[in-house]
């Protein structure tokens, strides 16, 4: 009987593009060990070569050539049997660089199929971010630190083989563990990786997610206009300038908030976000001046509030801020909304500063980091934690 199976890998541009490709290649080659045919490809419209932008890679596997061709006759699979999310901050949804609006990470998953997330968090925490949907599905977590590397390098931390071992458990009709092991032995030539894949296979389990369970957020979306409705001359109307806005407590107008594009939000591009201590801010303007995306609102107090519609999480503000711990970049998975930090601060300063203190404990060391991304030597620092995960699960 003809069989067509598809796997979708959601990853962070640049940092995980090689990892995603290696996984989809591994899927096709492991399935080929069982006589199946397949292709592995990346979504072209996304930006595998833009820092942190959500991207997708796919593997399609079929029992025979004609079934494979039927699967290839569309640009990319609209329905998949497994979705793998390689960085848990992506659970908030994805937007390609061309901005279709926000897409939940589980949107392509067939009913009852499995969403696999690499994370140190548990399922209830992840489901605060993963959007609810009408059909049930399974959620499985591969415990691990998101594997990030650079444009030209691949961090060989076994994430690829662990995911392959996990898929063998989650979707046995795609391939069995033996085929994954054969692929690793023949192509990757590493018995240690075979152990990693096997351990991941043995440890993996998934929970059922019921219809309606998950993040209730209304999705940001818009309709693409027809050619007659579009402006001519490949031109886009500029944004109005913006202006002062109200203090949430006194209701007095002040400060300056630039008007921002209604169709262009950066919610899903961030791996980290800046958290601001408005009590220690000296109003030096450096974050506001240096932000490449003009994402800082000037508050009526004269402090600077990173507007999370516009912030892409680059971390330049943290790098230029001269006050200790006034702006810190914290992993996006710690947050479940995009509310204004300044408004929270104004409503209850004590509570805000207390929670800030706890939040910045989770910030990564700033000294060696450039522009919010990973830094040289970080992998070595992660090895003890990674070993613990490997040993204990």
């Amino acid at each position: 009987m003809a069989q067509l199976l598809a796997v979708e890998i959601i990853y962070r541009g640049v940092f995980q593009k090689t990892l995603a490709k290696n996984i989809t290649r591994g899927i096709v080659l492991a399935a080929h060990n069982e006589g199946k045919l397949g292709i592995s490809f990346g979504r072209y419209g996304d930006a595998p070569e833009r820092n942190g932008i959500p991207g997708k890679s796919f593997a399609i596997v079929a029992s025979d050539e004609q079934t494979l061709e039927a699967g290839m006759a569309q640009y990319e699979p609209k329905q998949v049997d497994v979705t793998v999310v390689l960085d848990d901050t992506l659970c908030k949804g994805t937007e390609s660089w061309a901005w279709y609006g926000l897409r939940p990470v589980n949107s392509a998953l067939k009913p009852g199929r499995t969403l696999i997330v690499i994370s140190l968090q548990d399922a209830p925490t992840l489901l605060k971010n993963i959007h609810r949907r009408e059909q049930p599905y399974k959620l499985g977590i591969v415990k691990g630190i998101a594997s990030f590397s650079g444009m030209w390098v691949f961090k060989d931390d076994h994430t690829d083989v662990r995911v392959l071992g996990t898929i063998a458990k989650a979707l046995p009709e795609l391939f069995g563990l033996a085929s994954v092991e054969k692929f690793i032995n023949e192509k990757l030539k590493s018995s240690l990786k075979v152990t990693s894949a096997r351990t991941a296979f043995e440890r993996f389990s998934a929970v059922d997610v019921k219809p309606g369970q998950g993040n209730p957020e209304e999705l940001f979306k818009f309709d693409l206009p027809g050619w007659g409705a579009m402006r001519s001359g490949v031109s886009i109307k500029g944004q109005p300038q913006g202006g002062p806005y109200a203090d949430p407590v006194t209701k007095e107008l002040g400060g300056f908030r630039p008007a921002r594009n209604e169709l262009f939000k950066k919610y899903s591009t961030r791996i980290m976000r800046p958290v601001v201590n408005f009590a220690t801010c000296t109003k030096c303007t450096l974050c506001w001046l240096n932000c490449p995306d003009a994402s800082f609102d000037v508050t009526p107090d004269g402090t600077y509030d990173a507007n999370l519609e516009a912030c892409c999480g680059c971390g330049i503000c943290e790098a230029v801020c001269p006050v200790k711990d006034c702006i810190r970049m914290v992993n996006e998975s710690e947050f479940h909304d995009n509310n204004s930090q300044w408004v929270e601060f104004k409503k209850d300063k004590g509570a805000y500063l207390k929670s800030l203190e706890a939040t910045i404990q989770k910030a990564e060391p700033i000294e060696k980091r450039t522009h919010g991304f990973r830094y040289r030597g970080q992998y070595q620092e992660q090895v003890p934690a990674a070993l613990e995960i490997a040993n204990k699960g």
Partner: protein
């Protein structure tokens, strides 16, 4: 620029001067009359004569414009592109490989709706480095949304330049336009040209208005963003919509030109010469019209009923209209001053297009032969034309002829 005579037709209120000028000079004068705001230049023969004349007009205080000598053709066309986006009426041009060096700027301009008017002094593409005329330079942009016209006299060059601004800057059109002038034969030879009065030109040519496409601090827009497959097809469809109406706009503008200046061009898209009773016709673009017309008059004396169709507008290509014209004849001989290597029947560009137009637009489908000749500036001689006519007559009589033949080639 010696002014010879001044003629005034009080009844028609037409005032004009007459001067002995080259085709390039005629276009320079048209730029002055059109009150062009920004001119960019970079020397390459034979286009460079036009920049020479414009710079002289500026130096003499006759013309007020920004005259920018760029560091290369790419910048030359980029500068006018941006100036045009900001609302300036612009002029530039090039020749041969200079035009090709500007190619990236040429490709982006139609989608951005930039009505730049250019002169292409047609020149053979390198290699070998040669100065003479060949039409492959201008034809390289034929599929990209440019409007392309070929003229065959200095008078037509001047008139067409004025018409070009009206057509290109029309709010319904707004795409770039190139006027092709055969190198040497037109760019460098002087003829008597009637120059209309500035007031008359002002009446004919309204102010350039980009409307809400104007790049200006008071109209904040962002132009030329990166887009993915969700947007590109719609952008292309917008340019296609321009091509659907361009022929109508060109007809309107020629009618208005005749009303304003009293000079009549008839069908804007192609000129017919002695076709009324013709059995066969030759067809071509540019200055080869001169030897062809002379040869036709000679052949007519010998009783051979041959006519000539000179294509003025290559883009838009008036396909249905041309097919209706050509289906009256028993055979058609297209003289291509270009080549299209590897094309169907290994013909030239024009013959291939004519055949395509005939396939859908004519009921009779007479044989369409292609003659490749006059390349690199080689003369198309009267005996050449006689020889081509003879071959076309043979085809008309049902004697099979090769679909493509090289004329004036050493064997």
């Amino acid at each position: 620029m010696a002014t010879l005579t001044q003629s005034v037709d009080e009844k028609k209120k037409i005032y004009e001067q007459e001067a002995l000028i080259t085709g390039a000079e005629a276009i320079a004068i048209a730029c002055k009359l059109a009150n062009v705001d920004v001119v960019t230049a970079y020397p390459i023969r034979p286009y460079d004569t036009v920049m020479q004349y414009i710079s002289q007009l500026v130096a003499d205080g006759e013309m007020d414009c920004e005259f920018i000598v760029a560091e290369g053709e790419h910048s030359q066309f980029e500068i006018v592109k941006h100036a045009s986006a900001c609302g300036a009426r612009v002029f530039c041009g090039s020749s041969g490989v200079g035009w090709m060096y500007a190619m990236e700027a040429l490709t982006v301009s139609p989608a951005l709706r930039i009505p730049m008017v250019c002169m292409v002094g047609n020149r053979a593409l390198d290699d070998p480095g040669a100065f003479g005329v060949e039409h492959n330079d201008a034809l390289a942009v034929r599929d990209l949304g440019w409007l392309l016209t070929w003229v065959d006299s200095a008078q037509e060059a001047l008139d067409t330049a004025l018409i070009a601004y009206r057509v290109a800057e029309d709010r319904r059109i707004l795409v770039p336009l190139a006027i092709s002038c055969d190198g040497a034969f037109l760019t460098h030879s002087q003829a008597l040209v009637k120059i209309p009065a500035a007031e008359q030109v002002k009446k004919f040519l309204p102010r350039y208005d980009r409307g809400d496409l104007l790049l200006h601090p008071d109209n904040v827009i962002s132009v030329a963003p990166q887009a993915n497959e969700d947007w590109v097809m719609e952008v292309r469809r917008q340019n296609y919509a321009v091509t659907e109406i361009t022929c109508d706009v060109i007809r309107e503008v020629y009618a208005d030109f005749e009303r304003t200046f009293g000079r009549k061009y008839g069908n804007p898209f192609f000129e017919e010469y002695m076709t009324e009773d013709a059995e066969v016709v030759l067809l071509g673009m540019g200055t080869l019209s001169t030897p062809v017309k002379v040869a036709i008059r000679k052949l007519r004396e010998e009783g051979k009923k041959v006519g000539f169709v000179r294509l003025r507008w290559f883009r838009p290509f008036a396909g249905p209209e041309l097919a209706k014209c050509l289906e009256r004849f028993k055979a058609v001989g297209v003289i291509d001053r270009d080549f299209s290597f590897g094309s169907p029947n290994l013909s030239g560009v024009v013959a291939t297009e004519v055949r395509s137009a005939m396939y859908t637009g004519s009921s009779t489908r007479p044989p369409v032969l292609c003659f490749i000749g006059g390349l690199g500036g080689r003369e198309v001689t009267v005996p050449d034309v006689e020889k081509m006519t003879d071959i076309v007559f043979q085809a008309a009589q049902g004697k099979a002829q090769p679909l493509t033949q090289w004329i004036g080639l050493r064997g």
